[in-house]
């Protein structure tokens, strides 16, 4: 700076300026840096590898690479009966396994052309919404944690643990629920479970307020998430976004409203719509949907009718145990169902339910036998992950973290 002042003032400063600027600037050779985020990286959950090209701290390009969690889901399903596919579906979106279970079962039932009992429908709504809450709590907590607010994560997990406990009472498993069967449910609601769920929901709403207080109006959090990871509604549709990530862009699409399944048409709930398509909106979508799921569960628990939980058709549902042990028809049906599986009529079907992160679609093909000919999952996380480079290129490396969090890609379902 001292040099500039010493120079005599010339009548035409524009001529000298570039020279000065040139002299002040250090012409160093710079080069772009490639770093590998993942597959073992604290922020790359679900073992995704992200190859990031950096110019300083700015992301020039990003290339997500999946496959580290590939388990051969589709091929595995072709070798087992329709019912035996169920445990594989647990492991797709392992945060909300019930939604996968029920989504798959609904698709199979649609292929058969089967109407399941009322009570089973309500149970599916309750289970799916419980796990939607679990999924959203995980996402909100993980976002908080990876932005440095570890307490939020533990609060969220505390709330999720309540859901886990209720799900365990319902299904017998924390994670791999394998709940429901073709034609209904395999187990009724446990004694006193409704009251426990209501109590848990009350506790979760307390934790919810704490989380909201820590994040929603937190200046640092808002600064970190607002305006980062932006995607326009057109781009989101082109990429095939669904669920909260699409709704955050302002597109009003929710399978539960667009094509109501089970008993969603009887539930009074709102679908939050965002506007900016940024991380903050995606976070708000999750927070609002938590409240809406709470509403749905309370309504469903109040409305749920008594009655059978599975269709009374021994070609589809296992016969009651006294029949199996007491009658020859029962034994034969049981044997054939277990050994050969449910005989699904030949044909193909696409069916979808609203998963926590978007439209969870199932494309099933049956050749008329007891085993699937083809099972394809439209995992909501897959197109969203594909959109990540578009959302973060030209942004800071630090923006990658909340973006990757709020799209809530689940490795299990993306990599199958």
């Amino acid at each position: 700076m001292a040099d500039i002042r010493q120079k005599p003032v010339e009548p035409t400063p524009p001529d000298t300026r570039p020279e000065e600027a040139d002299a002040l600037e250090a012409h160093l050779e710079t080069k772009r840096m490639y770093i590998n985020l993942g597959p073992s990286h604290p922020a790359m959950h679900g073992t995704v590898r992200m190859r990031v090209e950096l110019e300083g701290e700015t992301i020039v390009s990003a290339d997500p690479e999946i496959g580290f969690l590939h388990r051969g889901f589709q091929k595995s399903c072709e070798n087992v009966t329709w019912t035996q596919c169920l445990p594989y579906t647990d492991r797709l979106n392992y945060v909300s396994a019930l939604q996968n279970n029920f989504g798959f079962l609904s698709a199979v039932e649609k292929l058969i052309g089967l109407e399941i009992p009322e009570r089973a429908k309500y149970m599916r709504v309750i289970g799916a919404e419980l796990h939607r809450m679990a999924d959203h709590l995980t996402m909100v907590g993980a976002t908080g944690m990876e932005l440095g607010g570890f307490s939020v994560f533990l609060y969220a997990l505390e709330a999720r643990e309540l859901i886990m406990d209720r799900v365990t009472e319902l299904t017998g498993a924390r994670l791999t629920t394998s709940f429901g069967r073709i034609g209904g449910m395999n187990r009724d609601l446990p004694e006193g479970w409704k009251e426990k769920v209501l109590k848990s929901l009350d506790k979760i709403s307390v934790v919810y307020k704490e989380i909201e207080g820590l994040l929603t109006r937190n200046r640092i959090f808002v600064d970190r998430t607002k305006g980062t990871g932006v995607i326009s509604a057109e781009d989101a549709l082109d990429f095939g976004f669904t669920g909260p990530c699409l709704r955050a862009c302002g597109v009003d699409f929710d399978v539960r409203k667009a094509r109501p399944y089970w008993v969603y048409d009887r539930m009074d709930f709102d679908v939050p719509i965002g506007r900016n398509g940024d991380n903050y909106d995606r976070y708000l979508m999750r927070m609002e949907e938590l409240l809406q799921s709470d509403r749905i569960i309370r309504q469903a628990l109040a409305q749920i009718p008594a009655g059978p939980i599975i269709v009374d058709d021994w070609r589809i549902a296992l016969p009651p145990k006294p029949e199996v042990y007491g009658t020859i028809e029962g034994v034969i049906s049981h044997f054939k169902l277990v050994m050969e599986g449910v005989q699904v009529p030949a044909g193909e079907v696409y069916d979808s339910t609203e998963g926590s992160n978007g439209e969870l679609g199932w494309y099933l093909v049956s050749d008329g036998g007891g085993r699937p000919y083809k099972v394809h999952v439209r995992a909501p996380g897959f197109p969203i992950l594909a959109g990540v480079p578009r959302m973060i290129e030209g942004k800071f490396l630090a923006d990658l973290i909340p973006t990757f969090d709020t799209i809530n890609m689940i490795g299990g379902e993306v990599e199958q």
């Binding site: 770093i35 701290e57 009003d252 399978v255 409203k257 094509r259 679908v271 909106d281 927070m287 490396l397």
Partner: protein, 496 residues
């Protein structure tokens, strides 16, 4: 229940007693050494006691405290599993010993292509300056012990505060060198972030204290604290006659602590110093979930030195803040009376113990405050921190300097300055209290595409509308949702 009792007992009895005991021992040791060796030899014991015993032990215990206190905040129990010779150790103390042993015995890994000299120098450069920082911080009053004058500070250079600024900025070399010499891209990013962060906060850090320097017309830390009534922060802005030194008695009043005189400077200094310690929410150089940190390649005690220096920075930052803003080792009220009592006159060691304990309790409180901040806030982004430093802290610091200068000139008794400070505190408190009510209650549900389900005839009011109306109000999510244009298999309109 027993845990609560344990915590309360330790907070109110054990910890003060321990602190007082060690401080008394420190004075006694200093007085004894002065007698047997040479006058001023107590400074050597001060190095031992203040730096090794207090700072080192407190920093190591803070590693445990961070885990325990964060557990308290997060409804957890925290570490309590480590046993000592098969016997359970209370409060997870065993973990802190186990951690130290673990770090000392781990393999000392060095990346193949790292620069050996710089790689080894990194942790030392990060650790040593932090250690030296406490040298100028007075932790207790000057007393006559065994006939010798003993003070509780390692060094009293004329440039006290400047020494802190100078040495604090040295620590960044360790961080940057560690990041650069590890030959790791993540570490390099961390080192670069550390360097730029330190540089931008250095300015705000120094500027924030200029007002205080003007108010007390000194840069020496003992002078900030004040020794006799009426010097430094050991004076009352307003108080009864005893407080004003007019007659003996119990002195009550508003002490001239830095926090009352310079609340803005306190916030600035706290933020800037927090950024210097590289802890959340300013932990960009570490950025655990982004770039893992500048020390990603370090293992064993080398990593331990980085971690420990961070905790030592907490203790030292607290110590400096106590000295500058919270009256050092002085009691808020009644100290002159306490000094005048027969007991304290006869046993100056006791006075040293009490006032030393006061100092360390204040330090512990501020350490706790820092840990609360660390466990509450998310991390800033790299550029946002720069923005905060240059565009917020620096201008505010400059304004603070001018306002303080004018007020000190106008009223050298500092009462005007204190009035403005109290006003600022009141405004900040009022704003904090009012914040939750600010959100206007906008109608909830307008922004929703599907207002209601089609069949059920429930009333359109939502039971929870008040609960989260602010979420929408904040963002004005009231846009009419854009419709999905070509519904091939997605009949959106069907539900309307």
């Amino acid at each position: 229940m027993s845990r609560t009792v344990f915590i309360l007992v330790s907070i109110f009895l054990v910890i003060p007693a321990l602190l007082a005991g060690v401080m008394m021992g420190a004075y006694a040791l200093g007085g004894w050494l002065d007698g047997v060796w040479f006058p001023g030899a107590h400074r050597l014991t001060n190095i031992l006691v203040l730096m090794l015993v207090f700072v080192m032990v407190l920093a190591s215990l803070l590693t445990l405290a961070e885990r325990k206190w964060s557990a308290l905040m997060q409804n957890r129990i925290g570490p309590n599993r480590a046993d000592l010779f098969g016997r359970p150790v209370p409060a997870g103390i065993g973990h802190f010993i186990a951690d130290a042993l673990k770090m000392l015995t781990k393999e000392d890994f060095r990346p193949a292509k790292a620069n050996t000299f710089l790689y080894n120098l990194g942790p030392l450069l990060a650790f040593a300056p932090v250690f030296a920082l406490f040298a100028v911080v007075p932790a207790g009053p000057t007393l006559e012990v065994f006939g010798k004058t003993v003070d509780m500070v390692v060094a009293t250079p004329d440039f006290g505060l400047l020494f802190i600024f100078a040495i604090a900025s040295l620590a960044v070399y360790g961080t940057s060198l560690a990041g650069w010499s590890s030959n790791n891209k993540f570490a390099l990013l961390g080192g670069v972030r550390a360097a730029s962060q330190m540089i931008s906060y250095e300015v705000a850090l120094g500027l924030s204290l200029v007002g205080l320097m003007m108010a007390f017309s000194t840069v020496q830390l003992p002078a900030f604290v004040g020794e006799a009534l009426g010097t430094g922060q050991f004076r009352y802005l307003w108080g009864n006659d005893a407080a004003m030194g007019l007659r003996p008695g119990f002195d009550v009043g508003l002490p001239a602590w830095g926090i009352f005189l310079q609340p803005v400077a306190f916030v600035l200094f706290f933020a800037a110093a927090f950024a210097e310690t590289k802890r959340a929410p300013f932990d960009m150089p570490e950025g655990e979930s982004e770039i893992i940190g500048y020390f990603v390649e370090y293992s064993g005690m080398k990593f331990g030195m980085f971690m420990l220096s961070e905790f030592m920075e907490i203790v030292i930052l607290s110590g400096v803040m106590v000295v500058l803003f919270f009256g050092g080792y002085h009691l808020p009220i009644g100290e002159e009376w306490l000094r005048g009592t027969e007991l304290m006159r006869s046993y100056p060691l006791l006075l040293g113990a009490v006032l030393g304990m006061v100092f360390w309790l204040k330090v512990l409180t501020l350490c706790y405050l820092q840990l609360v901040v660390r466990w509450t806030f998310p991390r800033f982004r790299y550029d946002q921190v720069q923005k905060l430093g240059w565009k917020m802290l620096l201008p505010v610091g400059l304004v603070n300097v001018f306002v303080t200068g004018a007020l000190v000139l106008w009223d050298p008794s500092l009462r005007l300055l204190a009035l403005s400070g109290l006003l600022v505190i009141a405004v900040v408190l009022a704003l904090t209290m009012a914040a939750p009510g600010e959100a206007p209650a906008e109608a909830h549900g307008e922004g929703h595409g599907h207002a209601h389900g089609d069949t059920t005839a429930l009333p359109p009011s939502h039971a929870h509308a008040t609960g989260h109306a602010q979420v929408h109000a904040l963002n004005a999510h009231t846009a009419v949702p854009q419709k999905l244009e070509t519904p091939e298999r997605t009949p959106v309109a069907a539900s309307h």
